[in-house]
């Protein structure tokens, strides 16, 4: 017997909106609503979309050794962020393989780690294991917190009507605590689409009220509910990696394009020795962006060919709704990872021409860095 699928507090909203629910990371999540993935994708690029991402996990770390634990278990330098700032990071195994990617939020009295739903149990055990002997308090708030992502060029104007804080004072990867539609929560200038927008952490018990208030506020500004399908194509167009597809414990951050968050000089952390060694030797494989120059739809698992033989594999891919051609991410040998390198993708027996390109593929997003 497999585990029954979990539902977010917004499950009934998705059903009422005609959402097509599919199993994802142990949850029943909407992959799309009746207008379809392409229309939702375009709405987010041109106006705004509201995503339920309540399946994500939230861990609270507090106590005298809170920073020490975050530093030990993540690759980025959490000592560099201020209260009110968030940081993209990753957790690694001793061999450098990625346990998960995450966002670290620094509050006055604690850190909040936001992790992928599929890795929630694994991450929780991992962090607890590394907290042994440290003076910290660990709490899993995943079930009590709902997360709504409001994304798109109109997101800011829509949200402005509902909050009691100055959104323009919240810079990229910054957050503030405040009320959304009268509900106290965390308003975070983060996202996964390449567009301007905010992620709203609110109590699970108030999720429906906030969802409805945001949908109502955006009703005359082109706001649509958007599902996992659009979330995937939006993040791919801007080259954001997805754990389970592009990131996994068989690849290190240096191989996965996350060298920029890997601070080898911050002091010791789990995986550092292996990563220092790999940096000296050079990562043998690299996660790269691939732009199809022939017609075709690249999908995860398709082989990447060069000089007549299979040399790598596609980990994510789609037909870019905005750009009109196939875009993908995949692993290739380091010597083939340079932008402009010509390769082929085996699309069900047909070799389709592609070129290595440094993401983002789509560069016109409204994101305010």
């Amino acid at each position: 017997m497999t585990h029954p699928l979990k539902r977010t507090p917004l499950y009934a909203e998705h059903v009422a909106l005609g959402g097509k629910l599919v199993p994802f990371a142990g949850f029943e999540m909407p992959v799309q609503y009746p207008t379809g993935i392409t229309a939702e994708h375009k709405a987010v690029r041109e106006a705004a979309g509201l995503f339920d991402v309540s399946h994500m996990g939230e861990f609270m770390v507090s106590g005298p050794d809170a920073l020490a634990l975050v530093q030990k278990t993540t690759v980025n330098d959490a000592s560099r962020i201020e209260v009110g700032q968030a940081q993209y990071s990753a957790m690694c195994r001793p061999d450098g393989g990625i346990v998960d990617d995450l966002i670290v939020y620094r509050f006055a009295d604690r850190y909040m780690l936001v992790v992928n739903a599929a890795n929630l149990d694994k991450d929780w055990e991992w962090i607890q294991e590394h907290a042994v002997g440290m003076d910290v308090s660990l709490e899993d708030h995943s079930g009590e917190i709902a997360l709504l992502a409001l994304q798109g060029p109109s997101a800011r104007e829509i949200l402005r009507t509902l909050v009691d804080v100055d959104l323009d004072a919240v810079g990229y990867y910054r957050f503030t605590e405040g009320k959304v539609a009268g509900i106290q929560g965390v308003i975070s200038a983060t996202g996964y689409t390449g567009e301007d927008g905010f992620e709203l952490y609110v109590p699970a018990s108030d999720a429906v009220a906030v969802w409805r208030a945001v949908m109502e506020a955006g009703s005359d500004q082109g706001l649509v509910p958007a599902g996992l399908g659009a979330r995937d194509s939006l993040r791919l167009e801007v080259g954001y990696a997805l754990y389970g597809n592009d990131l996994d414990d068989g690849h290190t951050p240096l191989e996965s394009g996350l060298g920029w968050i890997t601070k080898l000089d911050k002091g010791d952390f789990v995986g550092r020795d292996a990563l220092v060694r790999q940096k000296e030797e050079g990562a043998p494989r690299r996660l790269v962006g691939l732009r199809l120059t022939d017609k075709g739809f690249p999908r995860p698992g398709y082989a990447v060919h060069a000089a007549g033989r299979a040399v790598g594999v596609v980990t994510s891919g789609t037909m870019s709704p905005t750009l009109g051609y196939g875009v993908a991410m995949g692993y290739v040998p380091a010597e083939l990872s340079k932008a402009g390198t010509e390769v082929q993708i085996d699309v069900r027996g047909r070799l389709v021409e592609a070129v290595v390109q440094r993401p983002p593929f789509y560069t016109e997003g409204s994101i305010k860095r």
């Binding site: 992959v31 379809g36 993935i37 229309a39 194509s233 739809f297 789609t318």
Partner: protein, 129 residues
């Protein structure tokens, strides 16, 4: 709610056939139910005019955002036309599956093979609507 026109023949693989003006020629496409399940179609790969296929042989593929599916030839025959408009606008399969979203016209070799196909009621029962 999916649409099941009564003047069509259907396969369990979610294709439909409609008698064309010319005797023995049928227009083939995928059903409204199928396009709904597939979601946004982004690419349809169709055979060349003049090619022949046996019943249940793969004659093309349909790429939707979520998945790729084979198109199965519903009856043995020769392709006499393909819908070139799908090259430019594959979303016609979603917006008008029984009209502008048709895929090929097939000259049927053995009309008795048509007897094995489903009528609208049979197909509706098949998809469990």
């Amino acid at each position: 709610m999916s649409d099941y026109p009564s003047d069509l023949l259907y396969t369990e693989e979610h294709e439909y056939l409609r008698a064309a003006d010319e005797d023995g020629v049928y227009v083939v496409g995928i059903t409204d139910y199928a396009q709904g399940e597939l979601g946004d179609v982004v690419f349809v790969e169709l055979p060349e005019v003049g090619s022949s296929f046996a019943r249940m042989e793969t004659f093309g593929t349909i790429e939707a955002v979520k998945a790729v599916s084979d198109l199965f030839c519903p009856v043995t025959g020769e392709v006499v036309a393909v819908n070139a408009a799908l090259d430019d606008d594959p979303s016609l399969v979603n917006s008008d599956p029984y009209g502008a979203g048709w895929m090929v016209k097939l000259r049927v070799d053995d009309p008795s093979e048509l007897d094995a196909l489903l009528d609208a009621a049979g197909y509706e029962a098949h998809v469990g609507a």
